[in-house]
Structure formats: structure tokens, C-alpha cells
Symmetry: C2
Subunit: 438 residues, 2 copies
């Protein structure tokens, strides 16, 4: 609109000039309009992070719901505790025990999805100008939260084995030398979004020790940890230093996002403040959602259901890696052993954001790498999600994507005189696929 007048509003906005300073960090995603187009059924979307809830038997949910309503209807319909349902918090301990975490239900806060947990932790810790350390790349939704509290996300180099300890040490040193205040490290150690990599077992104690020595809190976001393929990931960072880690979990990927139930497990004093912040934000999380999830966890074979999800996603991961190997062998990408995402490196002359409109017109969508950096970098990467489309559609989508990339390179070579495709290029930061899959 021609009336745009800065990030705080437009001159068509009667309240322009009244907004808080932090709203300058609230910007609509540049690719939002495109994603509206990409949701058309004829487009193969490799862009979203929507789990495949179709694999969840609806009768399990229905049975849980009916028991809740017949036995605890008045509780389900009422306000609840700001900290979340005690019965659900007990069940959450069982879920975390699958990953090796031992904790007290008193240190758990249930939240409206783990996104709210990120928001509440940020609200508790971040003053304007503070620094959050995070992987390069990092989860787009977390970067947005940190920006909304006027904090600065500083990316730390990441390779096929996750966060690089030496780079973390250096980032802490550099930020402090520059007089800046680091509030926490935000990390997704398992099946990273968007990078698809997992922090190696041998790096985990080193990362924890670096943070402990430097007095830097770790916020460990682990929505995908139980969705492993070949082998489970190493134990969470939280197991190595319970007092130094706020651990975030979610039922959005292991059950369904529609309930909006996530949680934070925090050192006790932090947990107390999280509850106060949560009460201020929403009074209490949905009792209705929490009781249905509790009933599901109490009566259904939720471990078996997670195993079903693992199989679904592993098949899709394989379809994606096979498709990439067949149709885009000149590129490199990460090989996730769980989760939802593959991170693809483009030839440096391509720009994933500029290429997206053409991809959508060719009926395939992805997320440009720029979404995952606070500083606008990442145009030479894109994130592909294998969670929602069927394996056939994933293959179709990759074929279309190969056509788009090939076309872009042809176009560039027409104008620059270089060859149409580049020799295979290996991204030093990320692994290329092993021969048996790629």
C-alpha cells in the first residue's frame, strides 16, 4: 500500500505513532502471501511443518473425549490451574522419561503449545538489547519471539553434528567483549528445525559445560526428539544439568497440534516465574484440551502411536532423499535421522527467496533459508518438509523443484555464459546424503 509509513503502522492507521517500540520487530513474513497461494490443493507444499494427523486414529481421541466429558465434564469446562493440570503434568513426566529425563511434576508448566513456552521464557529473561545465542539457522518462530522482545539473535555455526562447541565459545567471548548481555542459548538439539541435524552425543556435555562455565542458561526446545528413525537421539541436555536448562516439549508432533498443549520443565525458581507469566498471559491453559490429552495418555497406546508416526515420517524422509538424489544430485543437503526437515544448499548464484514465486507457479512450495536467520542471510538455502505430503507427492514435488532450479540456472547461464549446471558442491557445514540413500 502506498500509505506505508514505517514498521509501526501506516498513515491509514488512526493509532499510528501509538504503538510500543517493540512492534517494530513485529513484521509479517515476506512469504506469507505466497503461502496463501501455496495452500491450494494443486501445489505440493514442502514448506509447512504440519504433522500428518491423518495417521492418528480419531476413535482414540473420541474415546478419550467421551470419558472426560462423562466423568470430569465440569472440570474440563472450567478454568484450571495456571501451572496446568497436575494429572497431565504427571503424564508428561512419563513422556520425558522416554528420553531419559527424570524430573518432578512440580517443575513442569503446561502451555498453549511450546511456542507459548518460548514466548514466556523470552518475556522472563529478555530486556531490549539482550543477546540470545542460537544455531545458524534457527527456528523461525523463536527468532520472531526474541525480536518481539527487542533482543538480538546471534547465530552460532552449526554443522552436520549440530552446534559447533568452539563457535559457541567464540560467540560468548565476542558478545561479552562487545559489552553485550547474553541471556540464554536457544537450541534444538534433536532433528533440528530447519537444519535437520542432531547434536552429536560427544558434543552434548561440552555444550553444557561451556554454558555452565559462562553462566549462560540453555533453552532446549525438543518437539521432535521422540520422532527418530534409525536410532534415538542422545539424551537431552537437560539430563546433564537440570539447574542450567529450561526444557521445552510439545504434543503437537507426537499427538496433534490442534490441542495446543506443550510444556516447559524448568529449574524451580524459573518455573515459579513462568507460572506467573503464564497466568498473566492466559490465566490458565485449556482444561478441556489438557484433560483429553491426559485421558489419551492414560488409556491409549501412545508409545505405539508414536512408533506409527516414526514409520510414516521415515518413509517420507526416504522418499525425499531419494528424490533429491535422483533429480538434484548436484546439490547438497542434510540427512535427518528424525523429525520433519531437510536443509538444502543451493548453488551460490541462486536466491531461494527470489526463486519462490516461480516455484509456486510450478506448483511446488518450500521455505527460503532467509526465514531462519535473524540477519537476512540464508538465501542460498531452503528448507524442505517431508512431514505432511504423501511419499508420491514428495517425489512429485522434488521433480518440480528440480525443474525450477534447473530453469533458474539455465536462465542465469544464458545471461552469464557459464554452464547450465554446476558440478556437485559439498556444503562444508552440512553433510551430503550417504550413498545408500542419496
Amino acid at each position: 500500500m502506498s500509505g506505508t509509513n514505517g514498521p509501526g503502522g501506516t498513515n491509514l492507521d488512526p493509532w499510528y505513532g501509538q504503538y510500543a517500540e517493540r512492534t517494530s520487530g513485529l513484521a509479517a513474513s515476506e512469504v506469507r502471501a505466497l503461502f496463501a497461494v501455496a495452500s491450494r490443493p494443486e501445489v505440493v507444499s514442502l514448506a509447512g511443518g504440519m504433522p500428518y494427523v491423518t495417521a492418528l486414529p480419531k476413535d482414540l481421541i473420541k474415546a478419550s473425549f467421551e470419558r472426560v466429558l462423562s466423568t470430569r465434564g465440569d472440570v474440563a469446562l472450567q478454568y484450571g490451574s495456571g501451572q496446568g493440570s497436575p494429572a497431565l503434568r504427571e503424564r508428561i513426566l512419563e513422556v520425558m522419561a522416554e528420553e531419559g529425563i527424570r524430573a518432578s511434576a512440580d517443575d513442569v508448566v503446561t502451555t498453549t503449545g511450546s511456542q507459548q513456552a518460548i514466548d514466556l521464557v523470552a518475556k522472563l529473561f529478555l530486556d531490549p538489547g539482550d543477546v540470545v545465542l542460537a544455531e545458524a539457522p534457527s527456528y523461525v518462530g523463536a527468532i520472531g519471539v526474541f525480536r518481539s522482545y527487542q533482543a538480538r539473535t546471534v547465530h552460532v555455526a552449526t554443522d552436520a553434528n549440530g552446534l559447533v562447541p568452539e563457535a559457541l565459545r567464540e560467540a560468548i567471548r565476542a558478545e561479552r567483549s562487545a559489552g553485550r548481555t547474553i541471556k540464554f542459548l536457544y537450541t534444538v538439539p534433536d532433528f533440528h528445525n530447519p537444519a535437520g541435524v542432531t547434536l552429536a552425543a560427544e558434543r552434548r556435555p561440552e555444550i553444557v559445560d561451556i554454558c555452565r562455565e559462562a553462566g549462560v542458561l540453555i533453552v532446549e526446545d525438543n518437539p521432535y526428539g521422540l520422532l527418530w528413525f534409525e536410532n534415538p537421539p542422545p539424551p537431552p541436555l537437560r539430563t546433564l544439568n537440570p539447574e542450567g536448562v529450561v526444557y521445552l516439549g510439545s504434543f503437537s508432533k507426537t499427538l496433534a497440534p490442534g490441542f495446543r498443549v506443550g510444556w516447559a520443565l524448568a529449574p524451580h525458581a524459573v518455573r515459579e516465574k513462568l507460572v506467573l507469566a503464564a497466568e498473566s498471559a492466559i490465566l490458565s491453559p485449556s482444561a478441556f484440551s489438557q484433560l483429553v490429552v491426559t485421558e489419551y495418555l492414560s488409556t491409549a497406546d501412545w508409545r505405539g502411536q508414536i512408533a506409527i508416526f516414526r514409520g510414516v515420517y521415515q518413509e517420507r524422509r526416504d522418499a525425499m532423499l531419494t528424490g533429491l538424489g535422483e533429480h538434484l544430485p548436484e546439490l547438497s543437503w542434510t540427512v535427518p535421522n528424525g523429525g520433519f526437515y531437510v536443509w538444502v544448499s543451493l548453488p551460490p548464484e541462486l536466491d531461494a527467496k527470489q526463486m519462490l514465486p516461480r516455484a509456486v507457479s510450478e506448483l511446488v512450495a518450500y521455505t527460503p533459508g532467509t526465514a531462519f536467520f535473524a540477519d537476512g542471510s540464508g538465501a542460498d538455502h531452503l528448507r524442505l518438509s517431508f512431514c505432511h505430503p504423501t511419499p508420491d507427492n514428495i517425489r512429485l514435488g522434488i521433480r518440480r523443484l528440480a525443474g525450477v532450479i534447473g530453469g533458474e540456472l539455465d536462465l542465469l547461464s544464458t545471461f552469464s555464459g557459464t554452464g547450465p549446471l554446476h558440478a556437485p558442491r559439498h556444503d562444508r557445514r552440512f553433510s551430503s546424503p550417504p550413498p545408500d540413500i542419496g
Copy 2:
């Protein structure tokens, strides 16, 4: 605990000193521990604001749920739009039309209860040091939100007809003379929480004009508007100036709080920012809750159900006013024509907060007036809720309360030598009950 070391944490907290400045405004309610005791079944609680969900037929909810799961299960279990379900936003227009509001569904954002709407509006507008104008007294949950953004709540005098226009004019003048920035007026015009009063029809255009002329946004919080007794309240402020009002609504009182579904209706440019803030906070509200509420509104006689709630609460309001007139005729109180609350003035020598432990030991609970002021005043008032206990329990609770107040006054007279009870005192700010009820 002896280790308390200031509002930011304790010296038992390894992260003490790391919290954001705004956490100094995050304090646990002083009466929280008492309310845990007050939730014992033998205590008559006139303290909470829990609606009487037992009056809601569970089969209506069950039928809505089953239809959602059988026809739109994958949508209900999935992530949804950050702005909220379009079908629900259309239904919300019908609910608001009951109050005379005409609007576009595009200007509605559904939220995790209207508490989240308050939080998001505060996040959008409030910089540290900004001023929010609000009734004296005001909703405790809103005061807490404003504090959490380091804003200052300035109370404006309120009488039996609601906010006093002249006092609003004077507050705007005084705050601006002092060089402070007023960001909005937060007001609950209908069946005020905690004051129980309703902004008179003739004052509404005056309040709107004062704010329009002064360039002050109005945040109109209206969770109780449809729960009127004798007559509906005058039309909302939003009908008088759509561009100058952010209107907040909720299903917590007209349906059930357990779904955590509320909404904001905002001027278009504000609405755009609210959606961005909501996405940052929770990605999207619960699709599951939203679809069940939509189905309920589409198929159940929700207007008839609200009429049932009106009857339930009116009977309870009558029981409370009758009890007050019989057992505490020397006090004065407001007479609500809807909603959940009666605001009681105590003799000035009593302190509602100091008296609460004794009341709880006598098996009755209330909320001290101090909860509803940002500045610690209000000790000479208490809020009584008639929403949740049965009429018999309300009468029992009032009898117990009269015993507590009488005992406190006897005790004071023993030490001061004055009479045991004071002559009836009329609170100039609030109406005493009319003869036919009180």
C-alpha cells in the same frame, strides 16, 4: 523464605540477576496461599470468578464434539490460522450482533481466552512508563498484564453509574501535564469486575467523545454483557466509534472457560498487528476448541442457554443481596444488574486483606479490594462473587461473613472503646441496595 532477595528472584535461584526488568512486576498474589485453602469443599468461596458450568448440558458439547471429529477431524487436530478459524469469526459476529455491534469477521482475532487479548493489546501498545487509564477499581488480571509491560495503571473515579466522565477528563489532563504518555483507557462498561456497576447510557457517548478528542484508544472488555438480569445494558462503546475501540469478548462466561476461546474486534490496522503478536505468542489458537465452539454455536440454542445462565445468576445475585440486607445492613454495596460480582464497602476501621485469614478459618472466602487497585488501595472494600456457589451456600457464606465482620468490629471496640457496630454508612461512590431487594 529467608533467602528472598528481591522481586527478581531469590539467592537460591541460580538465574537470579538474569531476569528481565519487567519481572519485577510479576508477583504472586498475596492471597494465593489462602485461596488454596479456600478451595477446600467446606469453605464457601465468594472469591472466585468461576462460571457455573454445571448449568451447561454436557450432551450439547458432546454432540458438537462428535460432529467435529467425524466431519472435520483432521482440521480440528491440526494447526490453524493465527487469526483464528474463519467460521468461528463469522459466528462471533452473530454473538456481538446481540449487543448491537456490526463488524467484519476480518477484524476479529480469536484468542486463548480474552485474557490473551488483553495481553496482546498491552504488548502492542505499552512501553515502560506508559499510562493505562482504568476504573477505580479495575480487573485484577488486566492490572497484572499492564504491570508486566512496566506500564502504570491510573485509576479513574467510578460511581454507581460507572466511570465518571469528569474524572476521566481530569485524569487525562493531569497525566499529560505531568508529561506522561497515555496509551489507552481499559474499561469494563457492563457489570463491572469487581465493582458490579454498569456505565450509564448517557455517559457512553461522553466517554467516547472525551477519548476521541484526546486521541486515547479505548479497550472495552465485555465478558459479561449478555449476562444481564432485568434489562440488557446499553450498546457497547464500540458501536459509538468503531475506529477508536478495541472490543474484547469471551465465551468463558456465556459457554465455558475450559475451551479458552475469546476474541478481539479491532480497527483494521490494529487487528493486523494483533495477529502478528498472536502468532508470535502461540502460532495459532486451538483448532480443536474453536471447532467445537463453532459447532455448538451453529447447532445448539446458544441464546436459550445464555437465558438459562441469566436465570441462574439472577437467582444467586438475589440470594446475595438478600443475605447482605439481612445480615450486614450496616454496610453498603453495589447492586449489579448482570454479571458475577457485588462490591462491598467496609467500615473504614476494617482491612479486608487482614481480615481474610479469619474469614477463611470461619469457612468463607472473598477477594480483598486491594487486588483491584494498582496502588495498594482498596483495603476498605471486598468483592463477593455470586456466580459459582448455590443460593443456599451464598446465604450461608454471607452469614459467616457477617459473623467475621461483627467479630472484627467487636474486637476493635474492645480495644478502642467505641461501639461494636457503626451506623449505616453510605458509600458515595457506589449505590446501596434499593429497598425492594436489600
